[in-house]
């Protein structure tokens, strides 16, 4: 005892303290960090500087132009290509999430050969030899099945198939069979036209989800925004005709809910009224159309469709008088047993109203030639089942998942002795194959897409192939197989050479005297070659044998199978961003849900989130109920895209596959799979399940978060007939005022006492209901400006930088660089343009390294998104419809409630008007979030960036996508929208380098850049010429919760509503 050292407790603790500190330091002292230089530096790449590559998005057949931002050789962000005719700078949510296909942690790493029930890795050489050998043995009994391909990829696939004696079949689940069949029938033309929404003055969509999956959604969203912005005479109405109010239809002024399967009759009824009353611009051959629709009188149609006859007459008159107008059919909701009939009926309607060749244009038609119909695919399966195919090569399509079981895909594949999947991920079809060849992602390989007439879009690798995946591009893989099989002796070295050779023909047409290499490099730089195209006018050739049909199977309810805005046909399901992006109708995430009318649910004894069992003759599924007033009482809806049994960790085992419910039925005329037309039995399900709701409350409870203004009020009151034209006219003029002086003059000159549509000052003269409103919903009366009114401090900052007063009663802040501040960064969000597509949300996830938290945390409100789209349902019932989408992010308040409660000054106001959040200063009290009226702050409850944690959100190689300009936040830290400060600094840096001021529009936030409808404008409010200034101080402006006097830097522009009930413009 005496020999040993005895410690006093205090001393012991000291030593232990040192020991622990030492140990901690010893352990924490990282291995000396290394700086690895290039061995040989690339001549044109500089570390720390982003490089951009134009390419083509391959996430769906639309083929929009994209620009890839790369840093240090890694693609980190996908954006729209402003020079590309498809997309014009926008990119949808699915397109943005293409990066997660590239960095998919479940991507196939090496060629895999089936080994019993498992897989065995083999080399490419072995795999190629195996395939080539089998193709040789098959002696022509082989099949190459691909998704939709165009341009050189298609021609080379065809060449390969011919050389090895295979047949090349292309198939898409969302094919355009019905549209093509209808156009063949009525116009004698096998084409899918270009819809010129921007030129239309009234749009009726017959179930077409043209803002989600149908056609070219990005280009259509831009056209739609242009159409809705038009208000010279109050035109721009949008009417949705479908049994369920879809996300696209949420933007509509009126929802007409016909009996499912009778939409075609409604279209014919409208055509009947137009012909009979001789309305609008008569298309040629109107007499023929009139004869074809003679039987479809409003009364007869009303009986068939359950839509009142006066509604039919009213809509017909509105549609015809608003010429050129546009009726749209297409998409999954159109594709039923009556699909071709509906598309043909819509053709008749368009023709009767004189829209053919005007808004329905056959110039920039989508290239869908050679796409097999579903019926043809089933015949291929029958052939395979009959043993006619010895070798099957599948690429870019997933028929085992995307066709109903009765199509026989699985059985057919089981009968094929040797099946090869050329795939990036192990989807259901790849699982059913004997060999998987790992494909390079589109962002790693050369290709092209000639997806519309006159659009020759190039696809180039934005980066070197990811090293952890031993992949090859589709073209190169086919080439290697062909060469091994002893064919293609005249093929060049690589697919890149094939591509260049094919582009020689384009060089001949568009080279304009440049040599080929120059032409090639410039085409790569621009993203392709685009020519203006025209078309000979299309003539109406014949009508279509319309006939009512019985719905299939027993059951009191109609089944509506909908396309998913997030997952398309299911191919997006393994992208975590898309799983976490709420569906914009139900606002649910990470799973399936059954949309059912509350009254119908009540009869079943089903409450929100309760399991519902749906049964048809084909099968049954169970999913949680989502009670939705926007669906007919006799209809239930289920979205496609989920229910994968394979395909990766994010997709597998989530939700149900709606295809399991589809009974054996096709649209005979088109050979299309009938997604619609089945009856279904619904009952309360047995197993408890979770409905992951991101936004459960869709009522804004009168809070005026999302505001509207009737178009009549903007037109100076003339259209509404309440003599306020003069006042509104002046107000509009004020909106254009370029400076504070003008504004002040207007403000004090009187005459604006009652109808000045400004949003200052807060909280005064706000009426709940405008007396002139002829329809329900809330409309905030334009605020009056009282005597002696002065703009608030924030506005002064914007107008007159010398009066930089943040708090009007205090001295200007002279600390720091406040005196040098030149800008006031701000945003204007046009609710009239926003369609709730979710593109901005995904763009923000990508740009700002936002972790995906998964369903359980989402439900607990621990979503990390910096921008969300709130959906508010004012009126969801057949008739005048009012659903509002509000993109909501940090409002960068001039007097921010969050700033004043932060005990450590982690959130503060920066000199340029940004509400800043300093992560390294934040101690995680969450006071700021509690005090934020907009609820836009996200707290890191867990460690999302530490690989050892279960909440880790960036498993290798998803972490390769992280933006190096943005800090990856750790646990215990608050975060929120920064208005992409990294982009602001980058833009200011460019301006400094060139010794000039920042140009308006030069800096764009990620959300503003991606928005297909250009609803978001970012810029410098202090620049009176800037777009954001003009919008923020123009008409329709308001601030959310302006009564709180937070002085937000985000100004919203009211959604413009149009009255369809009074018959539209005179």
């Amino acid at each position: 005892m005496s020999d040993s050292v005895v410690f006093e407790r205090r001393e012991f603790l000291k030593l232990v303290g040192v020991g622990v500190a030492g140990t901690a330091a010893g352990c924490a002292a990282p291995e000396a960090e290394k700086l690895i230089p290039y061995l040989v530096a690339p001549t044109d790449v500089m570390p720390g500087v982003p490089y951009f590559h134009a390419t083509t998005c391959r996430e769906c057949p639309a083929g929009c132009g994209a620009v890839v931002r790369t840093r240090e050789g890694r693609a980190i962000k996908l954006e729209g290509n402003p020079n590309h005719p498809l997309g014009q700078g926008g990119l949808c949510a699915r397109g943005q999430a293409g990066l997660q296909g590239l960095y998919d942690p479940d991507r196939i790493k090496t060629p895999l050969q089936k080994d019993g029930s498992g897989w065995k890795a083999i080399t490419w050489d072995e795999a190629i030899a195996l395939v080539a050998g089998k193709l040789g043995e098959a002696k022509g009994r082989s099949l190459l099945l691909t998704g939709h391909e165009t341009g050189t990829v298609r021609s080379f696939a065809g060449e390969f198939a011919a050389a090895v004696g295979a047949r090349h079949v292309m198939w898409e689940p969302f094919g355009y069979e019905v549209l093509r069949a209808a156009n063949r029938a009525t116009f004698g033309l096998d084409a899918v036209p270009h819809l010129d929404l921007a030129a239309a003055r009234c749009v009726i969509a017959f179930g077409a989800d043209f803002l989600e999956t149908f056609g070219s959604p990005v280009a259509q969203a831009r056209g739609f925004a242009a159409m809705r912005a038009k208000r010279d005479d109050g035109a721009g109405h949008f009417i949705a005709v479908e049994p369920r109010l879809s996300t696209t239809a949420a933007s509509a002024d009126e929802w007409v809910a016909p009996k499912p399967g009778t939409e075609y009759a409604l279209a014919l009824g409208l055509a009947h009224v137009i012909c009979n009353e001789n309305l609008g611009t008569a298309g040629a051959e109107r007499a023929a159309v009139k004869a074809a629709v003679a039987a479809y009188t409003p009364d007869a149609v009303a009986q068939q469709t359950e839509v009142p006859a006066d509604t039919i007459v009213r809509l017909a008159r509105l549609f015809a008088k608003s010429g050129p107008s546009l009726a749209i059919a297409g998409g999954v909701a159109t594709q039923g047993t009556q699909g071709t009939a509906l598309a043909a009926a819509v053709n008749l309607l368009n023709h009767a109203a004189g829209n053919t060749n005007r808004t329905v244009r056959f110039d920039r038609t989508l290239d869908l030639s050679g796409l097999a119909s579903f019926a043809q695919l089933v015949r291929e399966f029958e052939g395979m089942a009959a043993g006619q195919v010895d070798v099957l090569l599948v690429s870019g399509t997933n028929p085992v998942y995307a066709t109903p079981a009765w199509s026989g895909a699985s059985e057919a594949m089981a009968k094929v002795p040797f099946k090869v999947a050329l795939a990036t991920a192990k989807d259901e079809t790849a699982e059913a194959c004997d060999l998987i060849l790992p494909m390079s992602h589109a962002l790693e390989s050369f290709g092209d897409a000639w997806s519309a007439r006159g659009v020759y879009s190039l696809q180039q690798p934005a980066m070197k192939r990811l090293p952890m995946f031993d992949s090859r591009s589709f073209g190169d893989a086919l080439m290697a197989i062909g060469k091994q099989a002893g064919v293609g002796a005249n093929w060049p070295e690589s697919f890149h050479d094939v591509l260049r050779a094919r582009w020689q023909t384009l060089h001949a047409r568009f080279g304009k005297g440049r040599d080929f290499d120059t032409f090639w490099m410039e085409s790569l730089r621009d993203g392709g070659v685009f020519e203006d195209v025209s078309a000979a006018p299309v003539r109406f050739t014949a009508s279509y044998p319309f006939a009512a049909s019985e719905r299939q199977g027993d059951g009191p309810l109609a089944l509506l199978v909908t396309a998913s805005n997030n997952f398309y046909d299911g191919r997006g399901a393994n992208r975590p961003w898309l799983q976490e992006l709420p569906d914009m109708t139900s606002k649910t995430v990470w799973g399936s849900w059954v949309e059912i009318h509350p009254e119908t649910a009540a009869t079943l004894g089903v409450k929100q989130g309760d399991p519902v069992k749906l049964e048809t003759s084909a099968g049954s599924v169970e999913a949680p109920a989502y009670l939705y007033a926007g669906i007919r009482k006799d209809t239930v809806a289920l979205a496609l895209g989920q229910g994968h049994t394979s395909y990766g960790r994010y997709a597998k085992g989530r939700g149900v596959n709606a295809l399991a419910l589809l009974p054996q039925a096709t649209d005979a005329a088109a050979g299309a799979l009938a997604y619609q037309g089945a009856n279904v039995k619904a009952s309360r399900g047995a197993k408890a399940m979770d409905l992951y709701e991101q936004q459960a409350e869709k009522n804004q409870h009168g809070r005026k978060i999302a505001q509207i203004v009737p178009v009549a009020a903007l037109l100076g009151g003339a259209a509404a007939g309440h003599g306020e034209a003069a006042a509104h006219g002046e107000a509009a003029a004020h909106g254009e005022a370029k400076g504070h002086g003008d504004a002040a003059a207007h403000g004090s000159s009187g005459g604006h006492d009652a109808h000045y549509p400004g949003h200052y000052p807060a909280g005064e003269h706000v009426h709940d209901q405008h007396p002139s409103m002829s329809r329900p919903g809330q409309y905030t009366e334009p605020l009056a400006r009282p005597e002696g009114w002065q703009p608030p401090a924030h506005a002064i900052t914007a107008f007159e930088p010398e009066l930089k007063v943040r708090h009007p009663k205090h001295e200007p802040v002279r600390e720091g660089s406040y005196k040098n501040a030149k800008h006031r960064w701000a945003m204007a969000i046009d609710l009239n343009a926003c369609t709730g597509c979710g593109s901005c949300v995904v763009a923000c996830y990508a740009e700002n390294n936002i972790p995906v938290v998964g369903p359980e945390l989402m439900r607990r409100g621990r979503e990390m998104a910096w921008i969300r789209i709130d959906r508010f349902e004012e009126k969801v019932a057949p008739g005048a419809s009012d659903v509002r989408f509000v993109p909501m992010m940090c409002q960068h308040c001039g007097d921010a409630p969050c700033e004043m409660v932060c005990p450590v000054y982690a959130t503060y106001h920066n000199p340029e008007g940004l509400n800043a959040q300093v992560y390294n200063r934040c101690v995680g009290t969450r006071y700021c979030s509690n005090n934020c009226p907009y609820k836009v702050r996200a707290f890191n409850w867990f460690e999302y960036s530490a690989p050892e944690k279960t909440t880790f959100a960036f498993p290798e190689p998803l972490n390769w996508q992280l933006n190096p300009d943005v800090t990856v936040r750790s646990k215990g830290v608050m975060e929120k929208c920064t208005m992409c400060i990294q982009r602001i600094l980058e833009g200011k840096g460019h301006a400094k380098d060139e010794n000039r001021e920042v140009r308006d529009g030069e800096i764009q936030t990620a959300c503003a850049q991606s928005c297909p409808a250009q609803a978001i404008t970012f810029g410098d409010l202090a620049d009176p010429e800037s777009a954001v200034h003009l919008k923020s101080f123009g008409e329709r402006k308001y601030w959310v919760f302006q009564e709180l006097n937070t002085k937000p830097g985000v100004t919203y522009l009211q959604k413009v509503t149009r009255d369809t009930m009074s018959g539209g413009p005179a």
Binding site: P37, N910, N920, D965, V966, T967, L985
Partner: protein
């Protein structure tokens, strides 16, 4: 129980503490400052004796937020003919012939939540030595400045009214 554990803990504490101390002081103190590099590259010879411009090798410092370490090929641009027999150059040549990058040890490091922009500072006319110290006298480069925020802010505060390149005191400039 305490008595048995305590001596063991002392040993453990002393060992780990000394390791930690030597590691942390290795950068600042000791006979030769700075960490040992895989090749004893001397900035004194290059930037001092031979008067080479810093940007000759670290060219992106003036054009990118990030300063670069020259590619091995750039070293070899001279050293295929210059001083090829020196042992350190032989090491370099070996890396080159093996096609291997030189794993230089990082000396200057700021945390992830700091976004330092080299280009802005170089273009504002700030000498490299202002932050990196007299590199042209260093055989082995060591961290001259603390690189702590107070150190950054001191300079920024002094340059708030700089007529041509006013510095910013805004947190967001570095923290985002």
């Amino acid at each position: 129980m305490t008595k048995i554990i305590a001596p063991a803990l002392i040993v453990c504490a002393l060992v780990t503490a000394s390791v930690a101390l030597s590691q942390s002081f290795g950068v600042k103190l000791g006979a030769t400052k700075g960490p040992q590099q895989p090749i004893e590259f001397s900035h004194r010879i290059h930037a001092g004796v031979n008067q080479m411009d810093c940007l000759y090798c670290h060219s992106s410092a003036a054009n990118s937020p990030w300063a670069n370490i020259p590619a091995v090929s750039q070293c070899m641009g001279c050293h295929t003919v210059v001083a090829t027999d020196k042992p350190e150059i032989v090491k370099l040549t070996d890396y080159w012939t093996r096609g291997e990058q030189v794993p230089w040890v990082k000396v200057h490091k700021v945390p992830d939540h700091v976004k330092f922009n080299h280009k802005r500072h170089v273009r504002a006319g700030i000498e490299c030595q202002t932050c990196h110290g007299p590199v042209e006298t260093m055989d082995r480069v060591y961290q001259y400045s603390s690189l702590k925020m107070g150190w950054c802010v001191t300079c920024h505060r002094q340059n708030l009214d700089n007529p041509t390149h006013p510095a910013s005191m805004d947190c967001l400039v570095c923290h985002h």
